[in-house]
């Protein structure tokens, strides 16, 4: 069981917020002057990527902590504490990366749907889109790396390095694609929050509200995922005790050792 009083309250608030968000986003907020009702996709598209960015930043931060803790890890009680903290941050990184991948995937899907309505095409080779797709693929690779069976400390270190490489790479990709497109195509289509289009106050508040809702829900899932990862470790520990006793009771029916 991964629920607690706090997460139950959080979950209830999240659910209620999601219901209110659907009403606000689909009925209350006005249609855009240019895009019409298609603008309503913004309320799922933009919060998704914000939550995804937040998750990936958290993954990177946690990964840095993992490396930091394992580096200073020495023997004795200090080593035990460092190891425990490294495991904690490794779980944070894993849970956040999964959430990030899911929300990035949703961003890409809702973005294409939105793009089809407003630009008439599912995809644009825009800096933001290209970066997002690489972000998605890189972290898919990160999750694939995490899934491979290995000694837990080695795996934590390896995946932490991978997460940090991904983070270092991102701004480079973003600026190089930005540069690439601005040099080779007329100004890219900036539809969304970064554009110069003026959104009405209601749209602005609906968007902020949607973001808060998404964050709550992501937090709720993330906490549960963290606890599941912890449970998996506990299950592994429990299995180890059993494996150890089975292992110790293995017979030694080799050739008898000659007593000399």
């Amino acid at each position: 069981m991964t629920g607690s009083v706090a997460t139950r309250v959080l979950g209830a608030i999240g659910l209620a917020a999601a219901a209110v968000m659907a009403i606000l986003a689909l009925w209350v907020s006005p249609a855009d002057a240019v895009q019409g009702d298609a603008v309503r996709l913004m309320y799922v598209h933009v919060p998704s990527i914000w939550v995804a960015y937040g998750s990936f930043v958290l993954t990177a931060f946690a990964s840095a902590r993992v490396l930091w803790r394992t580096r200073s890890g020495a023997g004795g009680t200090e080593g035990v504490i460092a190891d425990r903290q490294a495991r904690h941050w490794d779980r944070v990184a894993g849970a956040a990366a999964e959430l990030g991948v899911m929300f990035t995937g949703l961003t890409l899907v809702t973005g294409s749907l939105w793009g089809k309505v407003t630009w008439g095409t599912y995809w644009q080779w825009d800096a933001r889109l290209t970066t997002t797709v690489l972000l998605f693929v890189t972290h898919l690779g990160y999750l694939a790396l995490r899934r491979l069976p290995a000694e837990s400390r080695a795996r934590a270190r390896r995946s932490a390095v991978m997460a940090l490489i991904a983070v270092v790479n991102l701004p480079i990709v973003h600026y190089s694609v930005d540069w690439w497109r601005t040099l080779h195509q007329e100004a890219s289509l900036e539809i969304g929050i970064g554009g110069d289009r003026n959104y009405s106050g209601e749209m602005y508040w609906t968007l902020l509200y949607s973001w808060a809702t998404f964050t709550l829900i992501a937090l709720w899932i993330g906490i549960h995922r963290y606890r599941v990862l912890r449970l998996e470790e506990l299950a592994e520990e429990a299995a180890l005790e059993e494996l150890l006793s089975v292992r110790r009771s293995e017979p030694s029916h080799d050739e008898p050792v000659t007593e000399r």
Binding site: R71, A144, L148, R157, R158, A160, L164, I165
Partner: protein, 222 residues
Amino acid sequence: MWREVWLICRKDLTVERRARVTLIQIVPTVLLILVVFAFAFDANPSLLGAGAGGLFWVAVLFGAVLGAKRSFDIEAEGGNLDALRLGGLSPAAILWGKAMALAVQMAAVAVFTAAGLVVLFSVTVTDWPLLLTAAVCGTAAFAICGCLYGAMTVGLRSADTLLPLLLIPVAAPVLLAGTRAFDVALGTSADQGWSWTALLAVVLITYVAVGWAAAGPLLEDA
């Protein structure tokens, strides 16, 4: 430190000198990629000429994936990586030694790819210094990146299939900047070729920095 780097590099190059895997397997594969692209573009000379810069980097990238795989396969075989660890080599020395050797092999791949482009796609070079600088920076960046991910996946059961998935997205900036710089050097576009080459250099420096930081955690015991 440099003695150790040179030790690893020399060993890898000797392996290549004896087995010639890069020369008789990776280079032909890369040339094959060029031919396959010609099929895909219906052997349209103008299209192939315009895309030559990009093709070069795509081909070299796939060569780098194969090269990185090969470079760490020889270490996984028979527990050679353990033998290196028992020699007391520092992780950084192992990484940089292998990266240097891989860079040399990738340089060979790049030369053959370029020759293939000249022969098959009849490209002409208008700016040699730009072309060479971009090629050196990009190839070295591929080599370092390949070694980082090779070290990350060495000995893992699904390393063969995981390596491309991890490596290709990270190589995207090199692919982009390299392509632009080559387009200028080959006279197919009038861009700021040196700025793109500067970007390649920045990427290279970044990978070097990441390599310094990551070698320890990656190769200490994994």
